[in-house]
Symmetry: C2
Subunit: 202 residues, 2 copies
């Protein structure tokens, strides 16, 4: 749907003006959810922060929950990447540093609180499940390459993700010490060695 | 301090009536903190639930935060044990099942939320640190025995605890699937194998 209420010149990139307005709204929502929580942010403030008319927010997302869910998914897109430098250990340590960095932002903290089961609506819960799927898929692609190269036995990426990110979340959320590159390297080292040592065919 | 306001017959076990009253108050506090959160529970309700006079609560814990902290520490005492059946893998898997069970209770969930750094008062933060120390110490004792028996290279129990309980917390808190014995066994298997494989002298 075209948004005639936006007061800026047409964008030249694919998607056009409405896509740009939507992106601004989602970014503003992300910021406000981080500040006020999923239940606390207000449409008026989203519009103000996004620099658009309030009607643009209501027209694109008549349902408040859908707006939160899309904002969460947008945020997840930015995070769900695992590089391939050819060095699996390094790439996974980078991945863990990225997770830790994400958790340390205000939005990351809000997301962590949203993860508490009792606080989730079904829609938010579903969005979190999709975010998780994206991350697991990104990890799976990197791991598949490593398996092809003979660097790792075949492994369940869902389990690998839990083994890698569980300790990261624990250290960051506990907040008793900073999460460092040494932590990331150590976690990756133990988990990869453990997976190699316990693989059925090794 | 003797508690003359309690209306029950003197207890025969060590510690006497006041010890029993204190234990009842701490148990009631634990239950109410689980229901209403650290900031939300009320002294009147603690007294009612504990079956004691309100003055008993105020006299023993004039400071609200000290009451919470002692209740947290009491709860931790119950949890901080790692058995020694002679089978390290099994004992650690039991330990993880215990952590998962604790997290699944209402009180465990409240504790998890209290762990979010932004929500902690210094006293609660200190109590959580002591709870953690107790758990790490319990794990350390079990691991030391395993090291003595040559079952494991020397290992930093703090790090081992993070590697083991991080994935447990992640799986339980995410709430997307139940945490099972198979999960516990798998986590212990990978972590122990990884620690053996990455030890300097192995």
């Amino acid at each position: 749907m075209a948004d005639r209420s936006a007061d800026r010149p047409p964008a030249r990139r694919p998607g056009g003006r409405n896509a740009r307005v939507r992106a601004q709204i989602l970014a503003a929502t992300t910021e406000l959810v981080a500040r006020d929580g999923i239940a606390g942010f207000r449409y008026e403030e989203v519009a103000e922060l996004a620099g658009v008319h309030k009607t643009s927010v209501y027209r694109n997302w008549p349902d408040r929950e859908e707006l939160v869910v899309e904002a969460l998914l947008c945020y997840a897109d930015d995070l769900a990447s695992v590089e391939d430098t050819g060095d699996l250990h390094r790439d996974l340590a980078d991945f863990l540093m990225g997770i830790a960095g994400g958790l340390e932002t205000p939005f990351g903290r809000t997301l962590e609180q949203a993860i508490q089961p009792a606080r989730q609506s079904p829609a938010v819960r579903q969005a979190l499940a999709r975010i998780l799927d994206q991350r697991v898929a990104a990890l799976q692609r990197r791991v598949d390459t490593a398996v092809d190269r003979g660097e790792l036995p075949p492994v369940d990426s869902f389990f690998l993700g839990e083994m890698l990110s569980g300790p990261v979340r624990l250290i960051v959320n506990r907040g008793m010490r900073p999460f460092t590159r040494t932590d990331a390297e150590r976690i990756v080292g133990v988990v990869l060695a453990g997976i190699r040592a316990t693989a059925p065919h090794v």
